[in-house]
Amino acid sequence: MTSIVEAKDLRVHFSTSGGAETVKAVDGVSFAMNRGETFGVIGESGSGKSTLGRAVVCLLKPTAGAIRLDDADPYALSGAAFRKNRRDYQIVFQDPNAALNPRMRIRDSVREPLDILGEGTRAERNARAVAVLDRVGLRAEFAERYPHELSGGQKQRVNIARVLTLRPKLVVCDEVVAALDVSIQADMLNLFADLQREFGLTYLFITHDLGVVSHISDRVAVMYLGKFMEMGGADDIAERPLHPYTEALLSAEPVPLPSHLRSGQRIVLQGEIPSPISPPSGCRFRTRCPFAEDICASSEPEWRELEPGRYVACHFAGQVTKGRKS
C-alpha cells in the first residue's frame, strides 16, 4: 500500500517584506507516512514544524520539492477538484479560539465542512454536527453557543468535532494541546487516541513537548531549522538517540525526581536557534553542537538510513551520543 503522505525534498520559503531576504522555514524535508500511524514531529520554536504541517494540508504551497497525498499531486488538480480533494486531509490548529469564527454559533461552525460539501439536507447536517459534538464530549446545548462562551478545552473539542464531520484520512495536529491547561491535556490526548482507533485516522502530530510525542506517536522525526535531524520509531529514539540534538532534547525533558536521584547529566544547549534566513553552513546544528568539528562546517551531513527504519543527518551519528565519542 502506498503512503498517505509523501514529502520529497520539501521546501517552503517565504520572502521577507521587501523581498530582499528569504526565510527558509522548511528547507529540504523527505518522509513518508503510513496509513493509521501517528507520526510525531518535534522541534523547538522556529524549527519550521508548523510550516511543514501547513504544507501537508496545502495551506502553503511548496517552494520546491513535492508533497504527494495518496500518491497523487494535489496541485495537479484545479479549482473545484482541488477544494474537494482537501476533505481527506485536515488540520487542528494550536489556538482553539482563533480557529473558530467568533460570529458563528458552534453548531454552524461544526456544520460548515458539511455545508461546503453540500451533503444531505440542512436538518441532516445539523443532526450530524450535534452527533459529532456529542462524540467529543460536548452536550447538545453547546451547539447554540458562541465561541467566547466556551473554555479553551471545549473550543478545541469543537475544532476536533468539525474536522471529524468530514471523516478525513489524515489529521495534522499542530500543537493541539499546547494552548490548553495541563490538567486537561491528558484528557485531550486520550480523546485523540480514541478517535484514531474509532475512525482509522492517521495523525501528523506536531509538538515541542517530548512527553506528548512519546505518549502518542509510533514514529518520530526531530526537526531543527527547517530540516529533519533524525527520524525513527518513537521508543527507539527515546531510548537510544543517534543525533546529538535529539539527545539534548531528551535530556531537557523535566524528570519528576529530586536532583540527586536523577541519572545522567543534563545537556544544556548554548544560544538560540540560528536565523532561518541564513542558516549555518554545513550541518545546521553545528553552532550549538558540543561535538562539532571542522567537517561539520564544511560539508552538510547526508540524510541516511543508519539502521533499518532509522534515518539521521549527522557526520558522527551514533558515535557521539551518550557521551560515547570515539
Partner: protein, 277 residues
Amino acid sequence: MRGVLKWLRRDLRAALSVGFLLLLLGLSLTAPIVAPHSPTNQNVNNTLHEPDAAHPLGTDDLGRDVLSRLIYGAPATLYASFLAVGVAILLGVPVGLLAGFLGGWVDDIISRIIDTLLSFPAIVLAIAVTGALGVGLTNGMIAVGIVFSPQLARLVRAQTLIVKQELYVDAARVFGASLGRILWKHIVPNAIQPVIVQVTLLLAVALLAEASLSFLGLGVQPPQPSWGAMLARAYHYMEIAPEQMYAPGIAILLTALAFNALGESLRVALDPTMKRR
C-alpha cells in the same frame, strides 16, 4: 422581528433613533395629508413671519409655510442620503474586499484608483457629473456616492487585510471553501463592524452634501423643497431673520445624530461577544 423588538426595548438610544427615523419616513410618505399647507404656495404679504397658530414654524422669504416645506423636504433629503450611501456601499465594499483579500497586483491597481478618487472633493465631482449628465438630485447624489466609495473601500480593505489572516479563514480553506464563501461567511461578518459605523457617518455627511448641492442649485430644483435648499435660503436672510435657520438646521442635525446613534447601537448589537449574558 421579535429579536429586533427585544433589542429596541433594551437599548434606549437605538429605540430613540429608530423611532425618529421611522417618524421621518412616516412624514415623508404622508406629507400631503399631514402638512398644514402647500409647500409651494407663496404669500408675499406674509414673509419671514414668526411662528404663530397658522404657521407653527413661521414662513420663509416668499411667505411659504416652513413646517410644510420641512415635511415635504424630508423624502428628498432621505432619498438623497440613502442613494449616495447606497452607491458608495455597492462600489466600495466589493472593491475593498477584493483588494484586501486577493492582494498583489489587484490590490496595487485598486489602491491607486482609490487614492486618485480620494483626492477629489465630493462636491466638485458632483458639480462635474451634474454638468455632464444634467442638473438633478439623482445625478448629483450618485456622484457624491462615487466620491464616498473610496472611503468605504479603503476601510473594508484594511479590515479584510486583518481578518484574512485569522486562523478560521485558514480552517475554512482546508475544508475546501470557495472564495465567495470565505468572503461572505468569514471575512464580511468579521470585517463589517467599523463599516456599519462609517456608513452611518456617511449618511450624515451625505445629508450635508445634499444640502450643499441644493444650496448651490444643483440638487433639488425650486420650488420643490429640501432641507439643504431651505437652509441655503435662510442663510441669505441670516441678519434679518436668524430664526429661519433653526427648522432645517435642527432637522438636519437630529437626522444625522439619529443615523450616528443607530450605527453605534448596531455595532454593539451585531457583536456577539458584546452581548449581555
